[in-house]
Symmetry: C2
Subunit: 362 residues, 2 copies
């Protein structure tokens, strides 16, 4: 994550992940989820914070989820079910359950199918937010499969040449196992910058970069700006920023996620539904051993990632990274030293705990 | 395709696609391919030209393929075989056959598997170039499936922060069926600009845009430049251009293609092989009717694509497009008025025809 999104040191409170898990779990129980499902939800959120993915950890998401439960946009103990199935596929109607909880269950269904026939795909409609989809992709990688996950919902991104925000930030995640190197985990929004990062920038007063957002007419803003410079939260640009630098590629990828999540789950995209709270998801597990020798695969992964990390950096950079490496380093730090939450987030969690009559963080 | 890549009108020779197919087919036969396979190769190349994808049509690729046959880097009538198989997967060793020809065969295997179990995936190692992978993805869409294709080979793209070109242009294509709207077909390189476009810019003397290429040290070139300004053919930047505008996303997508094509076919990436001519490919067919009602899916596709095309354009633009729409319009024009080849390309084809003792184009 770019330095500009990190919580400034003066505002940080380091919180032990075990304490955070317990409090977050209890909050989900108070929302009406079972102990088992509340534990899953807590794990998905706190694991994101541990991996340095604050944009999808407790800081941004917990408040939103609570408001969704309270306004009954999402339902605890949802009566989700498989509505269509084949040897390698399943389509789930989530009954407005939170996909933070249903995502791991869907990925496990995909994994079981992949064990039997080589590939397993689960699509899900009528669901709540999924949390960081990389978390679900990782579940497959931990079982020596290639995991892929996509999600869609909301309307925040302007298609190339358009003035109307018609697309969600539609992220794509892929995880692949290794031997000794940190696991490969790619997890990015198909717009220039993840929507939640705008909120992090707002909280820390940082500037928005050229190519991140459009003005109210849909024209790409190609100079630095502050959120306060914009009339409202500005629409986001597809990855690439402008057509000439490739925004049609980010736009097209976003549509791919829309098709594979919304249309392939029997749902319809937000731009046609006209409301934003319902998300659609795609979970895939590819059993590597159905394609090739898993030992060779993992050795090749290690060798490739080593080659990248040991390549000569361009001037001004210390080291070449790969997706999953910085997150692994953050995790090692945070497991020992705690998760650096913004003091306002700690306040929010403690106030929420107090109002729900559970123990505060400290 | 950007206007700057089109053949200037003064250099255009309009060639009837039927004539072009016949000549190109005969050239492939002279390279040693069977009539059936030469017909496939001709179709893949000329269809790309018809759809306005000159970068992957006869202009750029035919010359290269002939040189590969002549230097025995690729083999006609290759003894390709399935080396590993499961109900939803197959892994192919291509015996250095050209994937322009083997791609449609692989996609058909994937489609047959998808008909039986819902999803079919074929990976291919030890192969030649695939031509425009969108062509292969379209084969699935024509059978009411979602088609996906990726490919990798070569080392032209610098990873984010690196000074060494270690990755291929690693494109990703996805095709999805519609009712009455032109078929959705997304087909893009995971770098800012496709490698072949640099050659088109060279031929037409056009400038390279900021964010397309790196200098010899790997630093992104963020102003316009001419190819002549660079010491050599410059390395390409991942989609996003710089880290702050998202190049780590293009870089990560490129690695995803590398993993799913190279490592999942039992091959290794070019950066470890140390030579560039061998490509690896990934072909997937997802049977939409295994997930949901195909009629509803196609209606939703039409409605979504209409919504996009009818959205209000940003200032300075006439219409919002979607992937596959401009190519459909080019195809309608070119079927009637001929394919606008550069006069140098026509000369090359006629000289090649003459040296192989077949009839020239005209």
């Amino acid at each position: 994550m770019l330095e500009r999104f990190k919580v400034p040191i003066k505002d940080q409170v380091r919180v032990n992940h075990v304490d955070l898990r317990e409090t977050v779990k209890q909050i989900f129980q108070k929302m009406g989820e079972t102990t088992e499902d509340a534990t899953i939800a807590s794990e998905v959120l706190v694991d994101s914070d541990l991996r340095g993915v604050e944009s999808h950890g407790v800081s941004n998401m917990l408040k939103e989820y609570i408001s969704y439960y309270e306004s009954q946009i999402i339902k605890p103990r949802a009566d989700w079910k498989i509505v269509k199935e084949s040897p390698s596929t399943a389509t789930v109607d989530a009954d407005t359950g939170l996909a933070v909880i249903l995502g791991p269950k869907a990925m496990n269904i995909a994994i079981e199918k992949a064990k039997k026939v080589g590939v397993g795909i689960v699509t899900m409609r009528n669901a709540g937010h999924s949390g960081a989809i990389g978390h679900h992709a990782l579940i497959a990688a931990k079982q020596d499969m290639l995991g892929m996950c996509m999600t869609t919902g909301g309307m925040r991104v302007v298609p190339t040449f358009s003035s109307e925000p018609l697309l969600g930030t539609n992220p794509i995640a892929v995880a692949a196992p290794t031997n000794s190197k940190p696991t490969f985990l790619f997890d990015v929004a198909t717009c220039s910058v993840a929507g939640n990062k705008i909120r992090l920038a707002q909280r820390s007063g940082k500037k928005l970069m050229p190519g991140w957002v459009a003005d109210q007419n849909g024209s790409p803003v190609m100079e630095e700006s502050k959120l306060a410079d914009h009339i409202d939260i500005p629409p986001l640009l597809p990855l690439g920023g402008t057509r000439e630098i490739g925004s049609h590629k980010g736009y097209g990828l976003s549509l791919v996620a829309e098709i594979m999540c919304s249309l392939m789950s029997g749902g319809i995209p937000s731009m046609l539904e006209g409301h934003e709270a319902v998300s659609k998801h795609f979970f895939a597990a590819y059993d590597i051993s159905a394609f090739t020798d898993i030992g060779e695969f993992k050795t090749n992964m290690d060798d490739m990632l080593s080659k990248l990390v040991n390549s000569k950096p361009a001037p001004g950079f210390e080291q070449v990274l790969y997706p999953g490496l910085p997150e692994f380093e953050d995790e090692n730090d945070r497991l020992v030293n705690g998760i650096p939450l913004h003091k306002e987030v700690v306040d929010f969690i403690n106030k929420t705990a107090s109002s729900l009559e559970i123990d505060p963080l400290f």
